[in-house]
Amino acid sequence: MTATELTEYYLERSERLQPTINGYISLTRDKALATACHVDSLRRQNRELSPLAGIPMAVKDNIAVRGAATTCASKVLADYISPYDATAVEKLAHCPLLGKANMDEFAMGSSSLTSAFGPVANPWDSKRSPGGSSGGSAALVAAGCAPFSLGTDTGGSIRQPAAFCGVTGFKPSYGRVSRRGLLPLAPSLDQIGTLTRSVEDAALVLQEICGYDPGDPASARQDVPDFSACLVDDVSGLVLGLPREILESCPDSSTSEAVEAAARKFAQAGAKVSWVSMPYTDESLAAYMLIATAEAASSLARYDGVAYGYRHSSSTLEEMYTGSRIFGAEVRRRLMLGTYNLGPDCSGYELGQQARKHISRHLEELFSQVDLLLLPAAPYIAFPLEEELDPLAMYYNDVYSIPANLAGLPALALPCGESRGLPIGMQMMAPRFREDVLLRAGYTWQCRSDWHLRRPREVE
């Protein structure tokens, strides 16, 4: 099969399912076929190609792609075309780009409901949310519209939608993947990662996008191991920590039961499982909100209508500014919170950073006792689209994933069960730069389970 044939197949499926799922903000058929055609011609010349050459992909719409719309699901950037490629996209230049994936506006949300381009449907139940903010990236992989996609994770934005859509979501360590070209939500927490059908696929994509980039000052000068070589069906000797408070207080009992069942299965496979304590989930969420809103308020200051993006014409500068910043309600809410946090009467940001230090230190200590932490990817399974969730309840979606962002840890979300016909996701966290351990444990899990092989019934 040629890359062109493969790309045609995925384009056709993507276009056909777009009205149902709304997983894309824009489809990039011409660009995809041009890349596929180029790869095919290289292959005919017997050129050496990477394992992913010609495999199509979807890219979350907060990652810059040259010559393509890069909207962040916001009206503010509705007509913005990026003049440059993100580093991660450059590294995947041989992967035909099917389109830019739908998401929560500026990645602020856990439902993909805040997109200015309409909500994304969960392929398992089109009346339910795919999670967010990488909801489009997760839904497209789940629906078989894209073999893999890039997402971003600031507080759980890869792992929670991966759990909701029954796919494999990988958030690498902070600094593993260059953030150059990632439109920031909170620069100290943001990380690009993958949504795939399996851990094996995740290893292939991560191999290409990880690595030091002089264009990102926060990028780590850390050797990238051969990730595929880490895929061994063997967890003997690994110590898995189960955070007792989290499993005991998880609001969805089917989720906590599935995670505990997984722990038993790991124990059968030779891992040692022990209870640990992570008694700061609420504090993590609070710290996250203080830091992420402040950094977002700063990072989004540039959307003023002056040099690019939407501009409200007006005779006064102030009116031009206020009229150009046409953000949705959730973005406005967070910008207000963040601006307040940065203000002279509030030391919210510093407070958040202090809490972050404590939590990071505690996690570091935990990892002197265990190799991995095993916990739910999210406190719920996919919730109905029409459900009016109040913002605080929505923020609670990320409560189990945030510690990894605060401490810069790699984390992996994997399908581990089903409840009422909807996927359940578990999550594993490892010490910083120990993606290898996550890949090993995740691969072992998928060798011994078939949850990741199940397909949503709604989108045959």
């Binding site: 810059a64 990026s82 003023d304 940065l342």
Partner: protein, 462 residues
Amino acid sequence: MNPTIGLEVHVQLQTGKKLFCSCPSDFAAPPNTRVCPVCLGLPGTLPVLNQEAVILALRAALVLGCTINTLSSFDRKHYFYPDLPKGYQITQQRQPLALGGEVETPLGTVDINRLHLEEDAAKLVHTAEGTLIDYNRSGIALVEIVTAPCLTSPGAAKSFLQFLRQVLLYAGISDCKLEEGSLRCDANISLQGGGRTEIKNLNSFKAVERALDYEIQRQRRAIARGEKVRPETLRWDEAQAKTVPMRAKGIAAEYLYLPEPDLPPLYADAALVEKARMGLPELPRSRAARFVRQYGLPPERAELLVATREMADCFEEIAAKGATPLAAANLLLGEVSRLLNAGGELPAAGQLARLLALQEAGSISVKAAKEVLARMSARGESVDNILKQENFFQISDTETLAELAQKVIAANPGATADYLKGKTKALGYLMGAAMKASQGRANPESLKKILAQKLAERPKKY
């Protein structure tokens, strides 16, 4: 009622590139031709710190005697204004690169509060149709140098700036061109009993002095009338020669500083500071002292020579080629300086050394040397080339001069007779005639000697 004055000086670092991207930082390029996604603040771009700018900033901290912070960090300073493409400026608010310096200027010690790196904003061009933005300046590498409020007169402020300019130029840190904005100054001033005002738009050292003078008078009158001096930001209006209140700059007055999450802390360890120090030249003050010591120059000549690095370097090169140091100094401070002030170029040291050597050997006259120098400075020609084309060589050859003397004596019997009768003044006339006959090239001293000798040889019968 002495004024209290503090200065904030922005200096463009001479790195050739911007602070966080590799766009060139040349002046007067066509608008928006020195831009890239980073300095335009396009979505998703990240700043990458220019390491050469760090070295230059460290050098500035060293020459100002500052204490360098091993760990400094960057902050985002937010305000909404179209000159700021990101909605914030990257600066060093909480932990600046350096603190607490002290410099000796001719008008006394000046304390430096802090020195930090920051990026420049874009330039707004207001036209009848609207405001245009030139992003060429956006992201240019600056250091901000803040003095303590320790200056007590406009003259002292001016003197500090002149000193600062001299050392920054010397150390190759900045080209300090006020007219191009690579050195900009804001002044803070208050009198006892009044509020502090900040004056912006000071485009020359003279403007600094005049604006401060004006502001002292204005504040003094206000206080005398029992009025309050409001703390405010003023603009110096050169045409009206007065300070006028500025329009409010940002919509928000609060800068909402945020530790820059895109940039790791700047670690200026001993090795980096040493690297910066290695590139530092000898500074004017110690160089002048050495010139006195090593070359035996009078101190005031040495001071003048070190005023610019080019002149001092040139002097040392000439001296190294064996010229008499004082003669070299006099040449540079006299004729060469005059030519430079008239817009000429500084000739190469080797050429100046050759000229001096010819002059000292008596091969060319002082007058001829001046002419040769003028041509060197104007057209960059070499000494020997000029001398080959024009017959500037001085005639010192005894035989030629004797011949000349004979001719002049023969042609001027009257003057010769007068001289022999004891009218010594007649020798002057004969000298004039001889110089004219040689087109000014005769070595006057030798000629005078030979002429007197030839006259003495005349038979006494006259």
